[in-house]
Symmetry: C3
Subunit: 159 residues, 3 copies
Protein backbone atom coordinates (compact mmCIF):
# COMPACT_ATOMS: atom_id res chain seq x y z
CA UNK A 1 0.00 0.00 0.00
CA UNK A 2 2.88 2.36 0.64
CA UNK A 3 3.92 1.78 -2.97
CA UNK A 4 0.47 2.81 -4.15
CA UNK A 5 0.61 5.94 -2.06
CA UNK A 6 3.88 6.94 -3.67
CA UNK A 7 2.39 6.52 -7.15
CA UNK A 8 -0.26 9.06 -6.46
CA UNK A 9 2.29 11.86 -6.32
CA UNK A 10 4.04 10.79 -9.49
CA UNK A 11 1.67 12.52 -11.85
CA UNK A 12 3.85 15.51 -11.10
CA UNK A 13 6.81 13.64 -12.70
CA UNK A 14 5.03 13.68 -16.05
CA UNK A 15 6.32 16.59 -18.13
CA UNK A 16 2.98 17.41 -19.77
CA UNK A 17 1.35 17.37 -16.35
CA UNK A 18 4.08 19.64 -14.97
CA UNK A 19 3.45 22.09 -17.80
CA UNK A 20 -0.29 21.92 -17.10
CA UNK A 21 0.36 22.55 -13.39
CA UNK A 22 2.60 25.53 -14.15
CA UNK A 23 0.25 27.28 -16.57
CA UNK A 24 -2.87 26.49 -14.54
CA UNK A 25 -1.32 27.93 -11.39
CA UNK A 26 -0.24 31.06 -13.31
CA UNK A 27 -3.63 31.68 -14.93
CA UNK A 28 -5.54 31.01 -11.67
CA UNK A 29 -3.23 33.45 -9.83
CA UNK A 30 -3.93 35.97 -12.60
CA UNK A 31 -7.66 35.46 -12.04
CA UNK A 32 -7.21 35.89 -8.28
CA UNK A 33 -5.42 39.19 -8.98
CA UNK A 34 -8.76 40.55 -10.26
CA UNK A 35 -10.07 40.49 -6.67
CA UNK A 36 -7.20 42.73 -5.56
CA UNK A 37 -7.75 45.11 -8.47
CA UNK A 38 -11.48 45.29 -7.65
CA UNK A 39 -10.63 46.07 -4.01
CA UNK A 40 -8.14 48.74 -5.14
CA UNK A 41 -10.77 50.50 -7.28
CA UNK A 42 -13.49 50.15 -4.62
CA UNK A 43 -11.22 51.87 -2.08
CA UNK A 44 -9.75 54.58 -4.34
CA UNK A 45 -13.13 55.35 -6.03
CA UNK A 46 -14.96 54.96 -2.71
CA UNK A 47 -17.63 52.77 -4.33
CA UNK A 48 -18.95 49.97 -2.12
CA UNK A 49 -21.91 47.65 -2.18
CA UNK A 50 -22.26 46.42 1.42
CA UNK A 51 -23.35 48.95 4.09
CA UNK A 52 -20.94 47.36 6.61
CA UNK A 53 -18.03 48.17 4.26
CA UNK A 54 -18.63 51.92 4.56
CA UNK A 55 -18.92 52.01 8.37
CA UNK A 56 -15.43 53.51 8.67
CA UNK A 57 -16.68 56.57 6.74
CA UNK A 58 -19.13 57.44 9.51
CA UNK A 59 -22.82 56.74 9.99
CA UNK A 60 -26.02 57.62 8.20
CA UNK A 61 -26.10 59.76 5.08
CA UNK A 62 -22.38 60.55 5.10
CA UNK A 63 -21.55 56.84 4.61
CA UNK A 64 -24.54 56.06 2.36
CA UNK A 65 -23.15 58.08 -0.52
CA UNK A 66 -20.34 55.53 -0.90
CA UNK A 67 -22.87 52.76 -1.62
CA UNK A 68 -22.76 53.25 -5.35
CA UNK A 69 -21.50 51.65 -8.55
CA UNK A 70 -18.40 53.00 -10.26
CA UNK A 71 -17.56 52.41 -13.93
CA UNK A 72 -13.98 51.34 -13.17
CA UNK A 73 -15.08 48.89 -10.48
CA UNK A 74 -17.73 47.42 -12.78
CA UNK A 75 -15.17 47.05 -15.58
CA UNK A 76 -12.81 45.01 -13.40
CA UNK A 77 -15.74 42.90 -12.21
CA UNK A 78 -16.73 42.15 -15.80
CA UNK A 79 -13.15 41.12 -16.53
CA UNK A 80 -13.20 38.87 -13.46
CA UNK A 81 -16.46 37.18 -14.50
CA UNK A 82 -15.14 36.70 -18.04
CA UNK A 83 -12.09 35.01 -16.47
CA UNK A 84 -14.34 32.66 -14.51
CA UNK A 85 -16.35 31.83 -17.64
CA UNK A 86 -13.20 31.00 -19.64
CA UNK A 87 -10.58 29.84 -17.15
CA UNK A 88 -12.89 27.27 -15.50
CA UNK A 89 -13.29 25.34 -18.80
CA UNK A 90 -9.53 25.61 -19.42
CA UNK A 91 -8.68 24.16 -16.01
CA UNK A 92 -11.18 21.31 -16.32
CA UNK A 93 -10.62 20.39 -19.97
CA UNK A 94 -6.87 21.09 -19.68
CA UNK A 95 -6.52 18.51 -16.90
CA UNK A 96 -8.22 15.85 -19.03
CA UNK A 97 -6.13 16.92 -22.02
CA UNK A 98 -2.90 16.64 -20.02
CA UNK A 99 -3.91 13.10 -19.04
CA UNK A 100 -4.76 12.14 -22.64
CA UNK A 101 -1.07 11.79 -23.51
CA UNK A 102 -0.41 14.66 -25.95
CA UNK A 103 3.10 15.52 -27.18
CA UNK A 104 4.84 17.90 -24.76
CA UNK A 105 5.47 20.45 -27.53
CA UNK A 106 1.81 20.42 -28.62
CA UNK A 107 0.63 20.71 -25.02
CA UNK A 108 3.01 23.61 -24.31
CA UNK A 109 1.73 25.36 -27.44
CA UNK A 110 -1.87 25.08 -26.18
CA UNK A 111 -1.06 26.20 -22.63
CA UNK A 112 1.18 29.11 -23.69
CA UNK A 113 -1.29 30.51 -26.21
CA UNK A 114 -4.21 30.23 -23.76
CA UNK A 115 -2.42 31.90 -20.86
CA UNK A 116 -0.90 34.56 -23.12
CA UNK A 117 -4.33 35.31 -24.61
CA UNK A 118 -5.96 35.62 -21.17
CA UNK A 119 -3.21 37.96 -19.89
CA UNK A 120 -3.65 40.09 -23.02
CA UNK A 121 -7.45 39.98 -22.51
CA UNK A 122 -7.06 41.44 -19.02
CA UNK A 123 -4.93 44.34 -20.28
CA UNK A 124 -7.34 44.89 -23.20
CA UNK A 125 -10.26 45.05 -20.75
CA UNK A 126 -8.66 47.25 -18.11
CA UNK A 127 -6.81 49.83 -20.23
CA UNK A 128 -9.17 49.53 -22.31
CA UNK A 129 -7.80 48.79 -25.78
CA UNK A 130 -10.04 49.48 -28.79
CA UNK A 131 -11.88 46.49 -30.21
CA UNK A 132 -11.31 43.95 -31.70
CA UNK A 133 -8.30 43.54 -29.36
CA UNK A 134 -10.30 42.17 -26.45
CA UNK A 135 -12.65 40.17 -28.67
CA UNK A 136 -9.78 38.48 -30.52
CA UNK A 137 -7.87 37.55 -27.37
CA UNK A 138 -11.11 36.06 -26.00
CA UNK A 139 -11.58 34.05 -29.23
CA UNK A 140 -7.99 32.76 -29.15
CA UNK A 141 -8.35 31.42 -25.60
CA UNK A 142 -11.76 29.95 -26.48
CA UNK A 143 -10.32 28.16 -29.53
CA UNK A 144 -7.44 26.67 -27.53
CA UNK A 145 -9.88 25.18 -24.99
CA UNK A 146 -12.02 23.90 -27.86
CA UNK A 147 -8.98 22.24 -29.47
CA UNK A 148 -8.08 20.51 -26.19
CA UNK A 149 -11.69 19.35 -25.75
CA UNK A 150 -11.60 17.82 -29.23
CA UNK A 151 -8.55 15.71 -28.31
CA UNK A 152 -10.09 14.72 -24.96
CA UNK A 153 -13.28 13.54 -26.65
CA UNK A 154 -11.36 11.73 -29.40
CA UNK A 155 -9.13 9.94 -26.86
CA UNK A 156 -11.53 9.23 -24.01
CA UNK A 157 -14.93 8.93 -25.71
CA UNK A 158 -17.19 6.69 -23.59
CA UNK A 159 -20.74 7.93 -23.58
CA UNK B 1 11.40 7.34 -14.28
CA UNK B 2 10.12 6.83 -17.81
CA UNK B 3 7.88 4.13 -16.38
CA UNK B 4 6.43 6.63 -13.93
CA UNK B 5 5.85 9.14 -16.69
CA UNK B 6 3.88 6.60 -18.64
CA UNK B 7 1.69 5.86 -15.64
CA UNK B 8 0.55 9.43 -15.44
CA UNK B 9 -1.33 9.15 -18.70
CA UNK B 10 -2.99 5.90 -17.78
CA UNK B 11 -5.81 7.41 -15.84
CA UNK B 12 -7.34 7.79 -19.26
CA UNK B 13 -7.33 3.96 -19.60
CA UNK B 14 -9.77 3.70 -16.70
CA UNK B 15 -13.30 3.37 -18.03
CA UNK B 16 -14.96 5.40 -15.28
CA UNK B 17 -12.38 8.13 -15.81
CA UNK B 18 -13.00 8.03 -19.57
CA UNK B 19 -16.72 8.44 -18.95
CA UNK B 20 -15.98 11.36 -16.58
CA UNK B 21 -13.72 12.95 -19.22
CA UNK B 22 -16.37 12.58 -21.91
CA UNK B 23 -19.25 14.06 -19.93
CA UNK B 24 -17.13 16.78 -18.36
CA UNK B 25 -15.85 17.91 -21.75
CA UNK B 26 -19.42 17.91 -23.13
CA UNK B 27 -20.92 19.89 -20.26
CA UNK B 28 -18.04 22.41 -20.21
CA UNK B 29 -18.43 22.91 -23.97
CA UNK B 30 -22.15 23.46 -23.38
CA UNK B 31 -21.27 26.11 -20.78
CA UNK B 32 -18.83 27.76 -23.20
CA UNK B 33 -21.64 27.90 -25.78
CA UNK B 34 -23.41 30.40 -23.48
CA UNK B 35 -20.70 32.96 -24.31
CA UNK B 36 -21.49 32.64 -28.01
CA UNK B 37 -25.24 32.94 -27.38
CA UNK B 38 -24.64 36.05 -25.27
CA UNK B 39 -22.53 37.56 -28.07
CA UNK B 40 -25.25 36.67 -30.61
CA UNK B 41 -27.95 38.48 -28.60
CA UNK B 42 -25.68 41.46 -27.82
CA UNK B 43 -25.05 41.94 -31.54
CA UNK B 44 -28.60 41.28 -32.83
CA UNK B 45 -30.25 43.30 -30.01
CA UNK B 46 -27.51 45.94 -30.17
CA UNK B 47 -27.12 45.92 -26.38
CA UNK B 48 -23.57 46.40 -25.13
CA UNK B 49 -21.94 47.26 -21.86
CA UNK B 50 -18.45 48.52 -22.78
CA UNK B 51 -18.18 51.87 -24.62
CA UNK B 52 -15.32 50.50 -26.77
CA UNK B 53 -17.69 47.77 -28.06
CA UNK B 54 -20.00 50.32 -29.68
CA UNK B 55 -17.25 52.34 -31.40
CA UNK B 56 -18.17 50.82 -34.79
CA UNK B 57 -21.64 52.43 -34.49
CA UNK B 58 -20.11 55.91 -34.59
CA UNK B 59 -19.18 58.39 -31.86
CA UNK B 60 -21.03 60.31 -29.16
CA UNK B 61 -24.78 60.01 -28.63
CA UNK B 62 -25.41 57.80 -31.65
CA UNK B 63 -23.25 55.03 -30.13
CA UNK B 64 -24.26 55.69 -26.51
CA UNK B 65 -27.79 54.42 -27.07
CA UNK B 66 -26.42 50.90 -27.57
CA UNK B 67 -24.99 50.90 -24.03
CA UNK B 68 -28.05 49.32 -22.50
CA UNK B 69 -29.34 46.12 -20.99
CA UNK B 70 -31.60 43.83 -22.98
CA UNK B 71 -33.91 41.20 -21.45
CA UNK B 72 -32.72 38.45 -23.81
CA UNK B 73 -29.06 39.19 -23.14
CA UNK B 74 -29.66 39.23 -19.38
CA UNK B 75 -31.53 35.93 -19.59
CA UNK B 76 -28.62 34.17 -21.31
CA UNK B 77 -26.21 35.69 -18.78
CA UNK B 78 -28.29 34.33 -15.89
CA UNK B 79 -28.25 30.90 -17.53
CA UNK B 80 -24.47 31.17 -17.90
CA UNK B 81 -23.98 32.13 -14.23
CA UNK B 82 -26.28 29.28 -13.17
CA UNK B 83 -24.08 26.95 -15.22
CA UNK B 84 -20.97 28.19 -13.43
CA UNK B 85 -22.63 27.73 -10.04
CA UNK B 86 -23.63 24.16 -10.83
CA UNK B 87 -21.09 22.82 -13.32
CA UNK B 88 -18.06 23.86 -11.22
CA UNK B 89 -19.16 21.59 -8.32
CA UNK B 90 -19.92 18.78 -10.80
CA UNK B 91 -16.45 18.99 -12.38
CA UNK B 92 -14.65 19.12 -9.00
CA UNK B 93 -16.72 16.54 -7.12
CA UNK B 94 -17.10 14.39 -10.25
CA UNK B 95 -13.31 14.05 -10.58
CA UNK B 96 -13.01 12.86 -6.97
CA UNK B 97 -15.99 10.57 -7.50
CA UNK B 98 -14.45 9.05 -10.64
CA UNK B 99 -11.27 8.33 -8.62
CA UNK B 100 -13.23 6.78 -5.74
CA UNK B 101 -13.75 3.57 -7.72
CA UNK B 102 -17.50 3.47 -8.42
CA UNK B 103 -19.10 0.87 -10.69
CA UNK B 104 -19.01 2.00 -14.32
CA UNK B 105 -22.78 1.64 -14.68
CA UNK B 106 -23.45 3.72 -11.54
CA UNK B 107 -20.98 6.38 -12.65
CA UNK B 108 -22.51 6.54 -16.14
CA UNK B 109 -25.95 6.94 -14.56
CA UNK B 110 -24.73 9.93 -12.54
CA UNK B 111 -22.93 11.60 -15.44
CA UNK B 112 -25.74 11.05 -17.93
CA UNK B 113 -28.46 12.38 -15.66
CA UNK B 114 -26.39 15.45 -14.70
CA UNK B 115 -25.45 16.40 -18.24
CA UNK B 116 -28.97 15.69 -19.53
CA UNK B 117 -30.46 17.82 -16.76
CA UNK B 118 -28.12 20.75 -17.49
CA UNK B 119 -28.86 20.63 -21.23
CA UNK B 120 -32.58 20.60 -20.45
CA UNK B 121 -32.02 23.48 -17.97
CA UNK B 122 -30.46 25.59 -20.73
CA UNK B 123 -33.42 25.03 -23.07
CA UNK B 124 -35.86 25.67 -20.19
CA UNK B 125 -34.09 28.98 -19.43
CA UNK B 126 -33.71 30.22 -23.00
CA UNK B 127 -37.08 29.29 -24.55
CA UNK B 128 -38.31 29.84 -21.68
CA UNK B 129 -40.41 26.88 -20.56
CA UNK B 130 -43.00 27.44 -17.83
CA UNK B 131 -41.95 26.52 -14.31
CA UNK B 132 -41.32 24.07 -12.68
CA UNK B 133 -39.40 22.80 -15.75
CA UNK B 134 -36.29 24.84 -15.12
CA UNK B 135 -36.48 24.42 -11.34
CA UNK B 136 -36.79 20.65 -11.56
CA UNK B 137 -33.90 20.25 -14.01
CA UNK B 138 -31.78 22.39 -11.66
CA UNK B 139 -32.77 20.17 -8.72
CA UNK B 140 -31.96 16.97 -10.63
CA UNK B 141 -28.43 18.16 -11.46
CA UNK B 142 -27.95 19.39 -7.89
CA UNK B 143 -29.01 16.02 -6.48
CA UNK B 144 -26.62 14.09 -8.75
CA UNK B 145 -23.69 16.22 -7.55
CA UNK B 146 -24.83 15.73 -3.96
CA UNK B 147 -24.98 11.96 -4.46
CA UNK B 148 -21.43 11.92 -5.86
CA UNK B 149 -20.21 14.09 -2.96
CA UNK B 150 -21.72 11.59 -0.51
CA UNK B 151 -19.71 8.75 -2.03
CA UNK B 152 -16.52 10.85 -2.14
CA UNK B 153 -16.85 11.71 1.56
CA UNK B 154 -17.70 8.10 2.49
CA UNK B 155 -14.69 6.76 0.54
CA UNK B 156 -12.04 9.40 1.17
CA UNK B 157 -12.99 10.88 4.56
CA UNK B 158 -9.84 12.24 6.23
CA UNK B 159 -10.55 15.45 8.09
CA UNK C 1 -4.84 -3.40 -18.90
CA UNK C 2 -6.88 -4.44 -15.90
CA UNK C 3 -3.82 -3.61 -13.76
CA UNK C 4 -3.74 -0.11 -15.23
CA UNK C 5 -7.42 0.35 -14.56
CA UNK C 6 -6.91 -0.51 -10.93
CA UNK C 7 -4.13 2.07 -10.62
CA UNK C 8 -6.38 4.88 -11.67
CA UNK C 9 -8.45 4.53 -8.56
CA UNK C 10 -5.47 4.43 -6.24
CA UNK C 11 -5.02 8.15 -6.01
CA UNK C 12 -7.72 7.86 -3.41
CA UNK C 13 -5.35 5.68 -1.32
CA UNK C 14 -2.96 8.60 -0.91
CA UNK C 15 -3.62 10.32 2.41
CA UNK C 16 -2.92 13.85 1.16
CA UNK C 17 -5.27 13.21 -1.76
CA UNK C 18 -7.93 11.87 0.60
CA UNK C 19 -7.65 15.02 2.69
CA UNK C 20 -7.92 17.12 -0.47
CA UNK C 21 -10.99 15.15 -1.57
CA UNK C 22 -12.65 15.58 1.84
CA UNK C 23 -12.11 19.33 2.14
CA UNK C 24 -12.88 20.00 -1.53
CA UNK C 25 -16.18 18.12 -1.29
CA UNK C 26 -17.08 20.02 1.91
CA UNK C 27 -16.27 23.45 0.52
CA UNK C 28 -18.04 22.75 -2.79
CA UNK C 29 -21.13 21.55 -0.90
CA UNK C 30 -20.96 24.77 1.14
CA UNK C 31 -20.86 26.74 -2.12
CA UNK C 32 -23.83 24.77 -3.46
CA UNK C 33 -25.73 25.65 -0.27
CA UNK C 34 -25.70 29.29 -1.43
CA UNK C 35 -28.15 28.33 -4.21
CA UNK C 36 -30.61 27.00 -1.64
CA UNK C 37 -30.23 30.13 0.52
CA UNK C 38 -30.83 32.32 -2.54
CA UNK C 39 -33.95 30.32 -3.38
CA UNK C 40 -35.13 30.61 0.25
CA UNK C 41 -34.82 34.42 0.24
CA UNK C 42 -36.34 34.74 -3.26
CA UNK C 43 -39.41 32.84 -2.09
CA UNK C 44 -39.80 34.41 1.39
CA UNK C 45 -39.05 37.97 0.11
CA UNK C 46 -41.07 37.33 -3.07
CA UNK C 47 -38.28 38.79 -5.23
CA UNK C 48 -37.80 37.10 -8.60
CA UNK C 49 -36.04 37.92 -11.80
CA UNK C 50 -37.68 35.69 -14.42
CA UNK C 51 -41.32 36.41 -15.40
CA UNK C 52 -42.04 32.65 -15.62
CA UNK C 53 -41.04 32.29 -11.93
CA UNK C 54 -43.90 34.54 -10.80
CA UNK C 55 -46.61 32.86 -12.86
CA UNK C 56 -48.02 31.12 -9.75
CA UNK C 57 -48.80 34.58 -8.28
CA UNK C 58 -51.28 35.31 -11.06
CA UNK C 59 -51.01 37.19 -14.34
CA UNK C 60 -50.30 40.76 -15.38
CA UNK C 61 -49.58 43.55 -12.88
CA UNK C 62 -50.27 41.43 -9.83
CA UNK C 63 -47.34 39.13 -10.68
CA UNK C 64 -45.10 41.86 -12.11
CA UNK C 65 -44.56 43.45 -8.71
CA UNK C 66 -42.58 40.37 -7.64
CA UNK C 67 -40.03 41.00 -10.42
CA UNK C 68 -37.74 43.07 -8.25
CA UNK C 69 -34.39 42.99 -6.46
CA UNK C 70 -34.25 42.46 -2.73
CA UNK C 71 -31.26 43.43 -0.53
CA UNK C 72 -31.17 40.03 1.19
CA UNK C 73 -31.27 38.11 -2.09
CA UNK C 74 -28.53 40.31 -3.56
CA UNK C 75 -26.38 39.79 -0.46
CA UNK C 76 -26.53 35.99 -0.78
CA UNK C 77 -25.78 36.26 -4.49
CA UNK C 78 -22.68 38.36 -3.78
CA UNK C 79 -21.56 35.73 -1.26
CA UNK C 80 -22.12 33.03 -3.88
CA UNK C 81 -20.10 34.89 -6.53
CA UNK C 82 -17.32 35.52 -4.00
CA UNK C 83 -17.30 31.77 -3.35
CA UNK C 84 -16.94 31.05 -7.07
CA UNK C 85 -14.08 33.55 -7.36
CA UNK C 86 -12.20 32.01 -4.43
CA UNK C 87 -13.19 28.33 -4.31
CA UNK C 88 -12.46 27.70 -8.01
CA UNK C 89 -8.74 28.63 -7.54
CA UNK C 90 -8.63 26.53 -4.35
CA UNK C 91 -10.02 23.45 -6.10
CA UNK C 92 -7.70 23.81 -9.12
CA UNK C 93 -4.49 24.78 -7.30
CA UNK C 94 -5.31 22.45 -4.38
CA UNK C 95 -5.44 19.44 -6.71
CA UNK C 96 -2.00 20.25 -8.12
CA UNK C 97 -0.74 20.93 -4.59
CA UNK C 98 -2.04 17.55 -3.36
CA UNK C 99 -0.18 15.87 -6.24
CA UNK C 100 3.05 17.77 -5.51
CA UNK C 101 3.81 15.51 -2.54
CA UNK C 102 3.46 17.81 0.50
CA UNK C 103 3.64 16.51 4.08
CA UNK C 104 0.19 15.37 5.25
CA UNK C 105 0.30 17.69 8.27
CA UNK C 106 1.20 20.71 6.12
CA UNK C 107 -1.50 19.86 3.60
CA UNK C 108 -4.12 19.43 6.33
CA UNK C 109 -3.12 22.80 7.77
CA UNK C 110 -3.71 24.46 4.39
CA UNK C 111 -7.03 22.71 3.72
CA UNK C 112 -8.41 23.27 7.22
CA UNK C 113 -7.56 26.96 7.33
CA UNK C 114 -9.01 27.56 3.85
CA UNK C 115 -12.28 25.75 4.47
CA UNK C 116 -12.64 27.28 7.94
CA UNK C 117 -12.01 30.75 6.52
CA UNK C 118 -14.61 30.28 3.78
CA UNK C 119 -17.26 29.02 6.21
CA UNK C 120 -16.55 32.02 8.45
CA UNK C 121 -16.72 34.28 5.37
CA UNK C 122 -20.22 33.04 4.59
CA UNK C 123 -21.45 33.76 8.12
CA UNK C 124 -19.72 37.16 8.07
CA UNK C 125 -21.46 37.99 4.78
CA UNK C 126 -24.93 36.74 5.65
CA UNK C 127 -25.34 37.90 9.27
CA UNK C 128 -23.58 40.40 8.42
CA UNK C 129 -20.65 40.85 10.83
CA UNK C 130 -18.96 44.26 11.01
CA UNK C 131 -15.79 44.65 8.99
CA UNK C 132 -12.97 43.65 8.98
CA UNK C 133 -14.39 40.21 9.79
CA UNK C 134 -15.42 39.36 6.26
CA UNK C 135 -12.36 41.03 4.73
CA UNK C 136 -9.95 39.14 6.97
CA UNK C 137 -11.56 35.75 6.34
CA UNK C 138 -11.36 36.47 2.61
CA UNK C 139 -7.66 37.35 2.94
CA UNK C 140 -6.90 34.19 4.94
CA UNK C 141 -8.43 31.94 2.27
CA UNK C 142 -6.67 33.91 -0.47
CA UNK C 143 -3.31 33.52 1.29
CA UNK C 144 -3.73 29.77 1.71
CA UNK C 145 -4.38 29.35 -2.02
CA UNK C 146 -1.39 31.59 -2.77
CA UNK C 147 0.82 29.47 -0.50
CA UNK C 148 -0.29 26.26 -2.28
CA UNK C 149 0.33 27.88 -5.68
CA UNK C 150 3.86 28.78 -4.57
CA UNK C 151 4.61 25.13 -3.79
CA UNK C 152 3.02 23.93 -7.05
CA UNK C 153 5.14 26.34 -9.09
CA UNK C 154 8.33 25.47 -7.14
CA UNK C 155 7.73 21.72 -7.60
CA UNK C 156 6.31 21.51 -11.12
CA UNK C 157 7.82 24.54 -12.89
CA UNK C 158 7.98 23.81 -16.62
CA UNK C 159 7.23 26.90 -18.67
Amino acid sequence: RRGEMAKATQLIDNEVFRAYATYTAIVLLKMMLMSLITAYFRITRKAFVNPEDTASFGKGESAKKFLRTDPDVERVRRGHLNDLENIVPFVGIGLLYALSGPELSTALLHFRIFVGARIFHTFAYLIPLPQPGRGLSWAVGYSVTFSMAYRVLKTAWLL
